[in-house]
């Protein structure tokens, strides 16, 4: 493993597989245990540096670090020195001077973790940067698929929705491709980036044509701010053309699963009966997120000679 986890485009097949295998072993080691805590990172300090509100991702990283016995500091940009104009660099150097070994960063600017990695000596974990990547989300998604379907090689994954603005989509495209899955992105053309033709994916505009062939359907959240920016005429039309409802779910193969990184807009990109169906892995994804993030923290921090 490299020192940082900045993007899934960086992970080769053996690195990615190592993360998934490690997460599986951790899961198994902790299954059914009363004491869900390991001493691995005792004395290490992990900082959650969150410039965007994301309670679920922060809690997931916090739990992962704590289960490995690391000390965790949550540093939220709101109400801190950052809101008084302190630069990312100064904040990072300050945190490092206080002894942080790893910085888990969530930031609205694409590439912010890459900048951090240039400034600090410790490890940097990208917990979502702008519209670029969210590599631990992709790793937990791949982990979830592997657990449910038993494999990733040759699995046909449809990623549906706002690919243009989605860091989850980007991370999944690169990671799933690296792991041998066949990815199709499905969206209205306005929500696909110029240059998507150079990605290792199929591109489709018609959800109904893609669903019967999919083993996995990954629905993306549609952000409220897109709804009034002419990316599509109306919420109703989007939902009709690209939403996953019970009828569409019925066209899926018997073993196909439905994923969503959350938080969901029920009734918009995904119907409630789909989200709550047995095909849905949405709750499972959350649990797997902790194991995968433990694996990442262990692999980045466990053996790093300082």
């Amino acid at each position: 493993m490299k020192r940082h986890l900045l993007e899934s485009a960086d992970l080769d097949r053996s690195d990615a597989t190592l993360v998934l295998d490690t997460a599986a072993q951790i899961d198994q080691a902790l299954a059914g245990r009363e004491v869900k805590k390991l001493p691995t990172l005792r004395g290490r300090t992990v900082v959650n540096l969150f410039y965007e509100d994301s309670t679920r991702t922060r809690i997931s990283f916090e739990l992962a670090a704590k289960r490995l016995s690391a000390d965790v500091i949550n540093f939220s940009a709101r109400g801190s020195s950052v809101s008084k104009g302190e630069s990312l660099k100064d904040t990072a150097l300050t945190l490092e001077a206080m002894g942080s070994d790893a910085i888990v960063v969530r930031h609205a600017a694409s590439g912010a973790p890459h900048r951090l990695a240039k400034w600090v000596r410790g490890s940097v974990v990208n917990a979502g940067d702008g519209t670029h990547e969210h590599p631990t989300q992709a790793l937990l998604d791949a982990y979830t698929i592997r657990r449910r379907l038993g494999r990733l090689e040759g699995v046909r994954v449809a990623i549906v929705g706002d690919v243009l603005h989605s860091r989850v989509a980007r991370s999944n495209v690169w990671l799933l491709h690296t792991l041998g899955a066949e990815v199709t992105v499905v969206a209205p053309p306005t929500l696909l980036p110029v240059g998507v033709d150079t990605w290792p994916v199929e591109v489709g505009y018609d959800l109904d044509a893609v669903l019967p062939k999919a083993d996995v359907v990954m629905m993306l959240r549609v952000q409220a701010e897109r709804m009034n920016a002419s990316y599509f005429p109306s919420v109703r039309e989007y939902s009709r053309r690209y939403g996953l409802d019970a009828r569409r779910m019925g066209t899926l193969g018997d073993d196909a699963i439905v994923m969503h990184p959350g938080p969901m807009n029920r009734g918009m990109e995904i119907a409630a009966e789909v989200a709550d169906s047995v095909r849905s892995t949405i709750v499972e994804q959350v649990g797997n997120g902790v194991s995968v993030r433990m694996a990442v923290l262990y692999l980045l921090l466990g053996g790093s000679p300082q």
Partner: protein, 199 residues
């Protein structure tokens, strides 16, 4: 523990222990385990074997534990519980050794609470793996007692730990390396001593 002052040497055939030697040593350890179980639980109908759990420390402790269980079954007619406990996440020397892939941790369905747990490893050296295994056991349950079985004890302890069952004591110099090969992992059973630069 008897130990000769001379460092061990491989035999003319190239190995310290051959495949047949390994089988003989495993058989002897199985007998010792049966005796110990009976002694700890006198009068128990199954000779105390029901409370015995063999926990292998990956990598090679895991198949070794399974072999011991198989030999115990052959000699006593009683099956014993076997598990594995990966201790990587409990090591205190991760920073020096670097990360490695984890191996499974699997406990028998009956668990380890109030039982005689015997940790099984291939080589006993500094004792740090055993210390990590003891920490792992603490998180996995509360055994009545914990004992240690190793195929090879090569000395040079850094912690106050000793084995209860030793297949073979092998005096070594610090710079030598002791390599246990087992068919399940390496395709062959043998124990080799090699001259290495680092202990």
């Amino acid at each position: 523990m008897a130990s000769s002052p001379e460092p061990a040497r491989n035999s003319a055939s190239g190995a310290l222990l051959s495949s047949a030697d390994v089988a003989r040593v495993v058989d002897r350890m199985a007998h010792q385990l049966i005796e110990r179980a009976a002694a700890l639980d006198p009068g128990a109908p199954d000779g105390g074997l029901a409370s015995l759990v063999l926990i292998g420390i990956p990598t090679r402790g895991a198949p070794l534990a399974r072999r011991l269980a198989a030999r115990i079954l052959a000699f006593s007619g009683t099956p014993v519980d076997v598990g594995t406990a990966d201790i990587t996440l409990y090591r205190d020397d991760l920073r020096l050794r670097g990360v490695r892939a984890l191996e499974p941790t699997v406990l028998p369905d009956a668990g380890i609470d109030d039982r005689l747990v015997v940790l099984v490893d291939d080589v006993l050296f500094s004792g740090r793996s055993v210390r990590a295994a003891l920490d792992a056991l603490r998180d996995l349950g509360r055994p009545r007692s914990v004992q240690l079985a190793v195929l090879v004890d090569r000395g040079h302890r850094e912690l106050p730990i000793r084995a209860d069952f030793v297949g073979k004591n092998v005096p070594t110099s610090r710079t030598q390396q002791v390599k246990v090969h087992l068919a399940e992992v390496d395709g062959v059973d043998e124990v080799l001593v090699t001259e290495g630069q680092n202990p």
